[in-house]
Symmetry: C2
Subunit: 319 residues, 2 copies
Amino acid sequence: MQDVVAGIDIGGTNTGIGIVSHEGNILAETIISTKCKSTFDIYIKRLSAEIEKLLTDLEHDVRLVGIGVGAPNGSYNLGAIVDAPNLEWKGILPLCKELSKQTGVPSVITNDANAAALGEMLFGAAKGMKDFVVITLGTGLGSGIVVDGKLVVGNDGFAGEFGHIVAKVNGRQCGCGKRGCLETYASATGIRRTAFKMIADSNQPSVLRNITYDKLSAKMVTEAAKAGDPLARAAFEYTGLILGTRLADLVAILNPEAIFFFGGLANAGELLFDPTRRHMEEYMFPVFKGKVKLLTSGLQDKNAAILGSAALIWKELEK
Amino acid sequence: MQDVVAGIDIGGTNTGIGIVSHEGNILAETIISTKCKSTFDIYIKRLSAEIEKLLTDLEHDVRLVGIGVGAPNGSYNLGAIVDAPNLEWKGILPLCKELSKQTGVPSVITNDANAAALGEMLFGAAKGMKDFVVITLGTGLGSGIVVDGKLVVGNDGFAGEFGHIVAKVNGRQCGCGKRGCLETYASATGIRRTAFKMIADSNQPSVLRNITYDKLSAKMVTEAAKAGDPLARAAFEYTGLILGTRLADLVAILNPEAIFFFGGLANAGELLFDPTRRHMEEYMFPVFKGKVKLLTSGLQDKNAAILGSAALIWKELEK
């Protein structure tokens, strides 16, 4: 009999469900729609039924020992999703309580970036590290912080909002209602905004001038930069300046061993890493100079969301 | 027989030594000079002899169970003082090893701001709190961060350098070699620099115009502001803007329950707290708005350095 957990990744559109071993192998997985036109209660029942089905379909005997969930606005302390803007159900959703009631096993929740950090520690490139940060560079910028081998959750369960520190006073409008948040510069969306600002500010020729804002993707900026487009390269340099400066701040506060980049924009590789590292070192407090590794996530090509949620509950069961 | 610890506060000029009970009572204390023209070995022997003397002079029987040390550039991980600019002995000073050899009890070291945070938790206003930050506003700005009831020391033992995050790109020259560090704005020295810049930039009458830079103290700026001097009040407003913005960043990263101010500039009270709170709330990530308390340290009028060092070793002995 093998002990396994369920790792669940709740997104606005789909919910990924995986059965994960203690070694980080995904034994089975499936996807259900999050956008079902039903109550939250019915969604939880479907979720539990799908986990049950995955377990019984496995060829060998397993025992479910817990469930980990990663979700936007997931509060570890409350065991709930709180006012998630991209879900149909509003208010405080007591996900863990309901899920445990249905399945009879402990369940725990956190936000996606925190789950990514735990996944990195248990199954990724942060194995053996006790102090590190995972930065997810997707539509926004998320962060999961590990101090002395433990995820930092904070007093209300919402720590790790590094994407919403002020990168520029009175800067770009952010989805959170503030201005100048780091994620409006350093993210897939951020570099798109930077490229468009540079198109407007300069007369520099660029292949990007033929693309509408709605069609432009971070991948296109990356490809243009790889092909030598000077404006696209300048967009990466600026992104690295803003991100590097703020990472130097993060290092001054937390003194981590490494910072991992995960997500779409991290695929740009040295195009992003080189300017970020350079500017981070430029603004680094002397005692930390040359000491902090900037690395690509070890889960970059894997189902990191499922593995992260699974890592969350495996860690919890250790307690 | 009562168990006691020694709390030691090493400064560039003097070293404070106190015998401290588990309840945070200082049973005896003394001061020796740090600026002795002798080797580090001899300094350690004097330190041990003074602890011994304080113990034997006590009227009741006590047993020394450990020694805690707070020192600039004190590395918890190394048990050493590393390249302290204000000490006569250079390089890595293996203080804990030598002190334990002399006294036969465990000893542990950290920097002054970290010790202040532990003192706040055990004997001050952070009793019962698990996530908080202590900001020391003296000549510089130090910070001690507590996450989930434990001091954040980081991978090299130097976490908590919040005073050296970049408040302004290409800003004021800092003692650390960088430019624009937060402590060049938000500290006793910082507000002095701000007042002088405002004297230069404006034609506003002010009592501060009659004081030389070398004679001007944060206390004078505070007194002028209390008396209604508009320039001095503007200096506090600016200090609160810079500090408040960056505290909003710190909250986004760590989600603490409270932030404590300690040290000379904290005595300015609402003159400092009001603009800092206002600007912190203005730049706060929505989920944290109105939730984080800005408080005066509960050790503000006590020998916080000795109590902090004592708290450090009491916490260590709990492990």
